[in-house]
């Protein structure tokens, strides 16, 4: 690591995002900072316009009574105003945090209390509706700002303000931003990112200005191509996630990444097609979804076209293997080019992914088959590993181009990774988070006395690359990248009188499912009063009426959960779990042993997942990874 590089990190550690924004606005006022689609057109925002909007918004927030150190909560899908409000609140000295757009009302209430936001910013009327019923129980709340107020008819809450009003008309935004940025201390906290905790309620990781800047610079430093030339990217990951924030807000301040916002998140395929991004950050779910869409489309194509694709695939597989083995020469490059012209480039063009130079996957484990398939198609998919607690820094990432799938690459410069005796990944770096918001004991659990962060993930070294064996043992990380605490969900579901035990499953899956053990006494009682005849536990558990009962119970309790936490399918265990019996997946105190549970009831679990997509992808790759 050179002296110059160290100084760049040091330099950034003394910066804030609003300050960097103001500097961009002075240095390159006319260069495009980002593009946001409104009414069919991508409106180009220069750095000067961007900074001015942020400055005006910051003034507006101050006028609403926002004081330094207070919190601002933002809820909604990724959009330019989300980013503007976030930076404006930071500039005004406040601490911002995002709330998942899928959060349930109870989750929202918890985070509003926990974070103690004085200003709530809602993307549109939908989120206002979620907040208003609990607004009276939030005494500290000063204002509710609505970004898109087009559906706000007959809302008369005194705290409601529209984003346009907050912006005002003619303030000198850039000047205001510079003044405010000057007053900021880079060591002060900038924002909170909520992550699931063991207690079931999410914990807020507090991250400071300077450390986040330096942390996010590890991404640019690890992938220097981000700063080499102008890159187009598309923003679609939730901005309340650290990964989404990096891509949309921070990395563009540190590189030449130009984010693009589509008309709405639902229009993602359209947005990708129009923008043809060169750099994308994604969670594995999207890679899987796009791949399965392509494979399903190819399944119904004409024989000629299918034959062309198959031929390209044969060539592509060989070329990808050659790249992984480092034996790719000019001949291989030529063959890959031919295969791409024949089939891959037309496919990618339709997805808008034919210009992608770097496709960075993080947030959840990326199935190696999926990565391999994209690489055969000629897309440089690399996997990176980070934690909310590392404040926006990557811990490791595959450098590529076209790395062999199955690991998360090399550790970024300036950071250290060590494996504990049990194989847990321990990380030490210069730019951690500041601690969990209001939970100092949790902070001490996460970072030990020597300054090592305990990730909870189990890893292994493989030729200098870090390989993740098991992620976050106690949590479920869905294929969508959302970390979920199963204990929390199970506790809620166990509230039903008919359910004795519930085991939530969903690690690296598309959705959550549950294995359910019925409460024999309660259900038997119910059965008698409903004329359901049975002979014993198994016959009762497998009765169609009982299944309907359980389904109704789960549906009722699902309402208390955020959308991603809801149980989509379940299976009723055919026999009672007996702790006395040897090898049963429950401890004597009836604690469920998750892995054993899965092993014992694997067939039941798998029957709840429609794994067509995964099978499609795996079949396409044809076991080429096993070598």
């Amino acid at each position: 690591m050179g002296q110059r590089l160290t100084s760049r990190f040091d330099e950034l550690r003394a910066k804030t995002a609003p300050q960097l924004l103001a500097e961009h606005a002075r240095a390159t006022p006319h260069r495009v900072a980002y593009r946001a689609k409104h009414l069919g057109l991508y409106r180009e925002r220069s750095w000067a316009a961007y900074a001015s909007l942020v400055g005006r918004c910051a003034l507006g927030l101050r006028n609403l009574g926002l004081e330094r150190g207070e919190r601002v909560a933002i809820m909604g899908d990724a959009c330019e105003e989300w980013m503007i409000c976030d930076l404006a609140a930071q500039a005004a000295g406040a601490i911002t945090y995002g709330i998942y757009p899928t959060a349930s009302v109870s989750e929202l209430e918890y985070q509003m209390h926990d974070g103690g936001a004085t200003i709530f910013i809602a993307e549109d009327q939908e989120y206002v509706d979620k907040l208003l019923p609990i607004a009276d129980r939030l005494p500290q709340l000063k204002a509710i700002v609505v970004i898109d107020d087009s559906a706000m008819f007959a809302y008369e809450h005194p705290k409601l303000r529209s984003f346009a009003d907050v912006l005002g008309d003619d303030a000198d935004g850039l000047g205001a931003l510079e003044t405010m940025a000057h007053e900021l201390n880079p060591g002060d906290p900038a924002f909170i990112v909520y992550t699931s905790g063991t207690t079931g309620h999410p914990k807020g990781a507090l991250i400071s200005h300077g450390r986040h800047m330096a942390g996010a610079y590890t991404v640019v430093n690890h992938y220097p191509m981000l700063a080499a030339k102008e890159h187009r990217s598309v923003v679609y990951l939730p901005l309340c996630h650290i990964f989404g924030r990096d891509l949309a807000i921070t990395v563009p301040l540190l590189s030449r990444l130009v984010p693009h916002f589509g008309e709405s998140i639902e229009d993602l395929p359209q947005t990708l097609f129009e923008v043809a991004p060169t750099v994308l950050f994604t969670v594995p779910r999207y890679l899987q979804k796009f791949a399965s869409m392509v494979l399903v489309g190819l399944g119904s194509t004409s024989p000629t076209k299918r034959a062309a694709y198959d031929a390209a695939m044969r060539v592509g597989r060989k070329c990808a293997a050659a790249r992984w083995n480092g034996t790719a020469g000019p001949a291989s490059a030529f063959l890959q080019h031919a295969a791409a012209s024949l089939a891959f480039r037309p496919i990618l063009n339709k997805l808008g992914l034919d210009h992608v130079e770097l496709f960075l996957s993080g947030g959840a484990p990326l199935p190696p088959e999926t990565a391999a398939l994209w690489q055969v198609w000629g897309v440089n998919v690399v996997e990176a590993y980070g934690q909310t607690e590392t404040g926006g820094a990557f811990i490791s990432g595959q450098r590529g181009p076209f790395p062999r799938p199955g690991n998360v690459g090399t550790v970024v410069s300036g950071w250290k990774v060590r494996l504990s005796g049990e194989g847990e990944i321990l990380v030490r770096g210069p730019d951690f988070f500041e601690g969990y918001w209001g939970k100092p004991e949790a902070t001490h659990e996460a970072i030990d006395a020597e300054g090592w962060l305990h990730t909870g993930d189990v890893g292994q070294w493989h030729d200098g690359n870090l390989r993740i064996i098991d992620r976050a043992r106690d949590f479920i990380v869905t294929a969508g990248g959302k970390t979920i605490s199963p204990a929390h969900i199970e506790n809620i579901l166990r509230a039903s009188p008919y359910l004795a035990e519930v085991v939530v499953i969903g690690h690296a899956r598309k959705y959550l499912t549950a294995l359910v053990e019925i409460d024999f006494d309660a259900v038997a009682d119910w059965a008698r009063s409903h004329d359901v005849s049975y002979t014993g536990f198994t016959s009762l558990a497998q009765h169609a009426e009982v299944e309907r009962l359980v389904s109704g119970e789960i549906e009722r309790l699902n309402a208390q959960l955020a959308r991603v936490e809801q149980i989509k399918r379940f299976r009723v265990l055919p026999k009672a779990l007996d702790p006395e019996e040897e090898g049963e997946p429950v401890t004597p105190t009836r604690k469920v042993k998750r892995t054993l549970m899965y092993q014992r009831f694997e067939a039941l679990v798998e029957s709840m997942y429609d794994d067509r997509e995964e099978k499609l992808v795996a079949a396409e790759i044809n076991g080429m990874l096993s070598t």
Binding site: R35, K37, G40, L41, Y42, R43, E44, H260, P269, Q270, L272, F273, E274, V275, A276, M293, V294, V296, G297, L298, S300, T301, S302, K305, R306, A308, Y309, A343, P346, I347, N349, K350, L351, G352, L353, D354, H355
Partner: protein, 355 residues
């Protein structure tokens, strides 16, 4: 408006919606086509050049009829009459007043516009077959007036016209004619393409769809119909004027009902509701008799059937039209679109990215 055909063309101004050629493939394709069109007269012989000129002339008339029939949905069998009106305006002005082309051309256009109003008036009350018959009647009136002029003034074999003259330069060379006609056809196509994307063009399509609904949408059905007839007739009369100069000769016999049928065939075989269809139809119909002739020569039937060559031509022409109507109602442009889609969707069969 429409979707770009390739990824990576994000629009930052609404004006970009109007671009006729948006993607690189489209631009390169068009550039190649334009280069071929410009190079053609330097490689083609006199015979082929004459065919090319005929195609260009026909394409102006075909596009004009496409606007009226293909887009606005108004059936007209008066197309030959309108061509004749343009040609006779030119001939009469030249013979009586020795008018130069820059007088005869606008005059032909004016006469065309006036006739468009007259042709269009029945359309306000009549539809379908009745409208077709009323336009047919007007065709005969125009032809009658033309032949009356010929016989009364003693040009019973036709009116001879000198080539257009600009200063000391006269337009006689076939190659020069090619470029003039190419420019005229290009201008017509561009005008029509843009007109169809304008308020007027959308009104025409609306009345084609259903007049009542169009009226309910606030479109003045009368004005839309009359404007369709006027624009179409004006273009047709200009084509008639160019035709007169190109041939150097105007005669009522040249504008028989068969000419009308040929133009209707261009529009139908080309594919209704498409400017490209009009162009493809013009190429097809102009080349068709030459193709038949070549086929007869090749099969050595020409000697035996030499007296029947016109009959064979007509019969084959009729047969082709029936076949198109039955098997390919969307015309040549339908075939073209299928071929295009096959490549555009490659390697899929349907669009995989659902919207």
């Amino acid at each position: 408006m429409s979707q770009p055909r390739s990824s990576g063309y994000l629009r930052t101004r609404y004006a970009q919606d109007w671009m006729l050629l948006e993607t690189r493939t489209q631009r390169v394709g068009f550039a190649l086509f334009a280069a071929c069109a410009l190079a053609l007269p330097f490689f083609a012989g006199a015979f082929h050049l004459d065919i090319a000129n005929q195609v260009l002339l026909a394409s102006i008339g075909a596009v004009a009829l496409m606007l009226l029939t293909g887009y606005a949905g108004q059936i007209s069998l008066g197309h030959a009459g309108l061509l004749a009106a343009g040609a006779f305006t030119t001939g009469i002005l030249f013979k009586e007043f020795a008018a130069p082309f820059w007088v005869t051309l606008p005059a032909a256009a004016a006469v065309g516009a006036a006739l468009g109003v007259i042709f269009g008036l029945p359309s306000l009350r009549l539809r379908g077959l009745y409208l077709a018959v009323s336009t047919l009647a007007l065709h005969f009136i125009v032809i009658y007036l033309g032949s009356e002029y010929e016989s009364k003034r003693g040009f019973s074999t036709g009116v001879v016209i000198d080539p257009p003259r600009l200063g000391s330069w006269t337009l006689t060379d076939a190659r020069a004619w090619y470029f003039v006609l190419l420019a005229a056809a290009t201008a017509t196509v561009l005008f029509s393409l843009n007109l169809m994307r304008s308020r007027t063009g959308r009104a025409w399509r609306a009345i084609h769809g259903r007049e009542t609904v169009a009226g309910a949408l606030g479109i003045s059905v009368q004005r839309a119909k009359l404007s369709a007839f006027v624009v179409s007739s004006t273009l047709t009369a200009v084509a008639g004027c160019l035709f007169a100069y190109y041939r150097g000769f105007v005669s009522a016999e040249a504008f028989s009902l068969f000419l009308t049928i040929q133009y209707v065939a261009m529009v139908i075989i080309g594919g209704l509701g498409s400017i490209l269809g009009a162009l493809l139809g013009a190429v097809f119909v102009v080349l068709f008799p030459y193709g038949i002739e070549a086929a007869m020569k090749a099969t050595a039937l020409a000697d035996r059937l030499s007296s029947l060559i016109f009959a064979v031509n007509y019969a084959a022409f009729g047969l082709v039209m029936i076949l198109f109507l039955v098997f390919e109602p969307k015309g040549l442009v339908g075939i073209w679109q299928r071929v295009q889609a096959w490549f555009l969707l490659w390697p899929f069969k349907q669009k995989p990215v659902g919207k």
